[in-house]
């Protein structure tokens, strides 16, 4: 039976983290070197965590599937990172960032975690500046800020349109420093395929060396998963093609509860789909909504090019529906609004699933040079992909799968329901509730890695009996055998369909029935289609090559097999949550003008799913959410 004890410290919300930091046990510096920690993933959360733990003296092993830790998908984040610095003197504060995040998440996040996130946000900026992150600056030499969705203050720090890259390189450089000092052993091109639990505690992992195919075991005193989100379950997403759910799914099947799997974020501003060959969708940063205006023609089936549609025949629908936030409405609201106008037949572009993001007014007001300075690299990227010049014609954009708020359930210490297994960054469910605000993913990843795990890992280790478990333990043999059997099984099917064709089909089911809008009938359909597709996969997939070599077909097959299981859990969760909140929009629960209707009486909780065995229904547990510092209210951005 799973115990969802959140372990939130007592006391007023402003004091909880301070109090907890004092109450947590410490390990003296000379003893830290006797402990080992495994970190899976080298993005903002994993890279920052691995570096910080090594600085403290722990022996860290860090694993990533890419050829270098610098390539983790955090690198692709464009727009920025939030922090409650109030450098702009515009009324920001820790409490306001906390409030905006809880409200933005549609009151489905744990208050205490979010408050801590807002508190440490200010330290993150300091840390990154000290590392040499070249943030955008004003002429006086001080840090610049921009605005982002869901906030009425300017608190987003940025490095052109490459903020994620620069923050990740900061963490990567700190990590490489520790690698050079011998405190971190880095295992690139290694994919975690199993979690090893000994006497109820996470004690290691089994990986596949992606070059040689060798199955290897690694043991440690604690394990951290920082393996990102599962947005690729939709096949087309803004995630890197390698992003996958395998690490957290293996942990789920070993007893870690999965929190809110149905909370997925569909980002409103991505380049629309062009054809069936497409392998991914490219994001156009939310920061573009600072200066771009979103519109569609008033008339259905409009055929004129955008520059020939007069002002009076355009519908700037976000400005019309949400006058106080306008084009900076939160992501879930902006995405749904785009879907609505396209479903009405007013979409633009060849497929009619697109809306205009128009910079003509901003260029008139500020000049092309200013716009180029602010967004040049994004405009270039757009032109390379679409062959259209966004300085001359409006961009065409459409929502796409981007981020997953759901993930492994963790307590206040970022520990899952398996003692010793900690989960950080997008891989956990914790801080964003049902919808993440822009520029908050980078904040959370770095908060977890730099400022939370270094404390809570020590507390866990100090409070646990140190017993020597190494890879000779039978649990490692069993886990290796399970990995080996699964690989052999995948290769033995020798069917007639490629892995990619299954991924595409699953993606279409998920997008259709568990995407931007969901309803009971659709979810029930998906719950029939997914198990059928999974069965077909295990009968009909063809995987090329051999196990003992670099085999990308095999890597992909394993990941898609896990998505085929996760997709079902997402639909189950979406079906059970009979309300609309944030990114989870159930068509049965909406106001006459299409706004989400929450049901706080029945669903003001986290749903955490427990795996109960192959072929058995997972069990839904509940962590009740209490709102003492932000009053439950209907979210309004009007």
């Amino acid at each position: 039976m799973i115990d969802l004890k959140a372990n939130v410290p007592d006391g007023p919300i402003e004091k909880k983290w301070d109090k907890h930091r004092f109450d947590m046990k410490l390990i003296n510096p000379a003893n830290k070197r006797k402990y080992s920690v495994i970190v899976v993933g080298s993005g903002l959360a994993g890279g920052a965590g691995a570096a910080s733990l090594a600085e403290l003296g722990y022996n860290v092993s860090c694993f990533c599937y890419q050829d270098s830790p610098r390539r983790a998908h955090s690198i692709a984040a464009q727009g920025g990172i939030n922090a409650a610095k109030n450098y702009q003197n515009d009324g920001d504060s820790i409490r306001r960032l906390f409030y905006d995040t809880v409200k933005g998440g549609d009151f489905r996040a744990r208050e205490a975690n979010v408050y801590r996130l807002a508190q440490v946000s200010v330290n993150i900026i300091d840390q990154c500046v000290a590392q040499g992150v070249p943030f955008g600056r004003e002429y006086g030499g001080l840090l610049g800020n921009r605005s982002f969705g869901g906030a009425q203050v300017s608190r987003t720090f940025y490095a052109r349109g490459q903020t994620g890259q620069q923050l990740l390189l900061g963490a990567y450089q700190a990590l490489e420093r520790q690698i050079g000092l011998g405190k971190v052993i880095m295992y690139p091109r290694h994919e975690m395929l199993e979690l090893v639990v000994v006497d109820g505690r996470a004690r290691g992992i089994v990986t596949r060396d992606m070059v040689t195919g060798a199955i290897e075991s690694y043991a440690a005193d604690a394990v951290i998963l920082a393996t990102g989100g599962y947005g690729n379950v939709f096949h087309l997403s803004t995630n890197a093609t390698g992003c996958n759910t395998t690490a957290i799914w293996r942990a789920y099947k070993k007893g870690a509860a999965f929190g809110n799997p149905c909370y997925t974020q569909i980002h409103p501003t991505c380049i629309p789909v062009t054809g069936d060959h497409q392998s991914k969708l490219t994001l156009m940063s939310e920061s573009l909504r600072n200066d771009g205006r979103i519109w569609v023609p008033l008339k259905k089936g409009e055929t004129r090019p955008p520059d020939q549609i007069p002002e009076a025949e355009r519908d700037y629908y976000l400005e019309r529906k949400y006058p106080s936030y306008g084009n900076l409405a939160p992501r879930d609201i902006a995405s749904r609004a785009a879907k609505q106008v396209c479903d009405e037949g007013r979409g633009v572009g060849e497929t009619h699933y697109g809306v205009y993001l128009d910079f003509a007014d901003a260029i008139k007001r500020l000049g092309e040079d200013v716009i180029r300075d602010r967004y040049g690299n994004l405009f270039d990227m757009y032109e390379r992909i679409t062959d259209e010049n966004p300085y001359k014609v409006p961009m065409r954009i459409y929502p796409a799968s981007h981020y997953t708020m759901g993930g492994l359930w963790v307590d206040y210490n970022l520990m899952s329901t398996i003692p010793g297994l900690h989960v950080a960054g997008e891989a956990n469910f914790s801080d964003h509730g049902a919808n993440r605000l822009g520029a908050s993913a980078l904040m959370q990843g770095l908060a977890d890695g730099y400022f939370v795990l270094p404390y809570t890992i020590g507390n866990y280790l100090a409070g646990t009996k140190k017993d020597a478990v190494d890879t000779k333990h039978a649990a490692f043999r069993d886990a290796e055998a399970a990995v080996d059997a699964r690989i052999k099984k995948l290769l033995a099917v020798k069917g007639k369909r490629t892995v990619d064709s299954f991924s595409k089909e699953l993606g279409k089911i998920m997008w259709e029935y568990c995407g931007m809008a969901r309803n009971r009938a659709g979810l029930e359909t998906a719950l029939k289609k997914i198990p059928a597709l999974r069965e077909e996969f295990w009968k009909g997939v063809t995987v090329a090559g051999q196990p003992g070599e670099l085999n990308q077909s095999l890597e992909r097959a394993g990941r898609v097999a896990d998505f085929l299981e996760l997709g079902e859990l997402m639909c189950l969760d979406a079906l059970a949550r009979e309300e609309s909140c944030g990114g989870h929009f159930r068509e049965e629960y909406q106001t006459p003008d299409g706004e989400a209707v929450r049901n706080d009486e029945k669903f003001c909780h986290v749903a955490a799913w427990e795996y109960t065995g192959e072929g058995k229904a997972p069990v839904r547990h509940v962590e009740q959410l209490e709102f003492q510092d932000v009053h439950l209210a209907t979210r309004s951005y009007k």
Partner: protein, 257 residues
């Protein structure tokens, strides 16, 4: 479009490689270069043949994972563009396209179009950082930085570590990569305390990895998908010279005994 692909196939690091020709019909000009390869691989898998291994991840030009020499140019013909952002509209129906891995001794071939670029990581580990442990930073606005300096640091920091510079260089020199990191940190106040040790240790590591010397061909900047400028190599050379003149054999610092 119908294309002919001549692709370098090599089983593993120990095997000999060779070019194999593939017919690629029904390619859409809207596909990215890697999506074209996906299609070719799908067809190979269905025929029971081994698909072409190539590195890729973000497919939006920022992770630096993709690494294909297209018709002799790292990342292909379009300037400032990674292979993943290259689109098939850059080619014509009937074209023959040659695909090779990066060619440089410090980037050994792993399989087909995949190389091992861990040498770049080791160069960063040798000194491409500011030694600042988590938690010890002053307020972010404590040290104002001139906007032009910060912007120039960002120009250098835009490097994605893909290795195209060394792959394009006739000497297989990694100077542009090293110069980008050295300059990024040398242009900022936070990088000053370790500025000269950094340049010496990074260059020493670059040499130890077997990268060649810069003789100003300029192929690196031309191939760089982020268009990192050669002038950063001049900055590296200045810092290296200064550091070499100033450096003394290490002696124990006062109080360290």
């Amino acid at each position: 479009m119908r294309l002919t692909l001549s692709i370098w196939r090599q089983k593993d690091s120990k095997s000999e490689g060779k070019f194999v020709t593939y017919d690629a019909p029904d390619i859409s000009p809207d596909m990215s270069f890697l999506e074209m390869l996906d299609i070719v691989n799908e067809r190979l898998i269905l025929k029971g043949e081994d698909p072409v291994a190539f590195d890729h991840d973000c497919r939006e030009g920022i992770c630096g994972m993709c690494s294909i020499v297209v018709n002799g140019n790292p990342h292909g013909p379009r300037r400032g563009t990674t292979a993943c952002q290259l689109h098939m509209r850059s080619f014509k129906d009937g074209d023959t396209i040659t695909l090779e891995p990066w060619r440089a001794t410090p980037f050994p071939i792993v399989k087909d179009l995949i190389v091992d670029r861990s040498s770049y990581d080791r160069i960063i580990a040798a000194g491409g950082f500011v030694s600042v442990a988590t938690g010890s930073a002053p307020d972010g606005n404590a040290i104002p930085i001139k906007k032009s300096c910060s912007d120039r640091a960002m120009d250098a920091a835009a490097c994605i570590g893909c290795g195209a510079c060394a792959a394009a260089c006739p000497n297989a020199s990694a100077m542009l990569f090293v110069a980008a990191k050295v300059s990024h940190l040398a242009l900022l106040p936070q990088g000053q305390p370790e500025r000269y040790e950094r340049v010496l240790s990074m260059v020493a590591q670059m040499d130890a990895e077997g990268f060649g010397t810069c003789t100003n061909h300029g192929e690196c900047s031309r191939a760089c998908p982020k268009e990192i400028k050669q002038e950063f190599i001049a900055q590296l050379n200045r810092d290296f010279l200064k550091a070499s003149l100033m450096s003394r054999p290490k002696i124990a610092e006062a109080g360290s005994g």
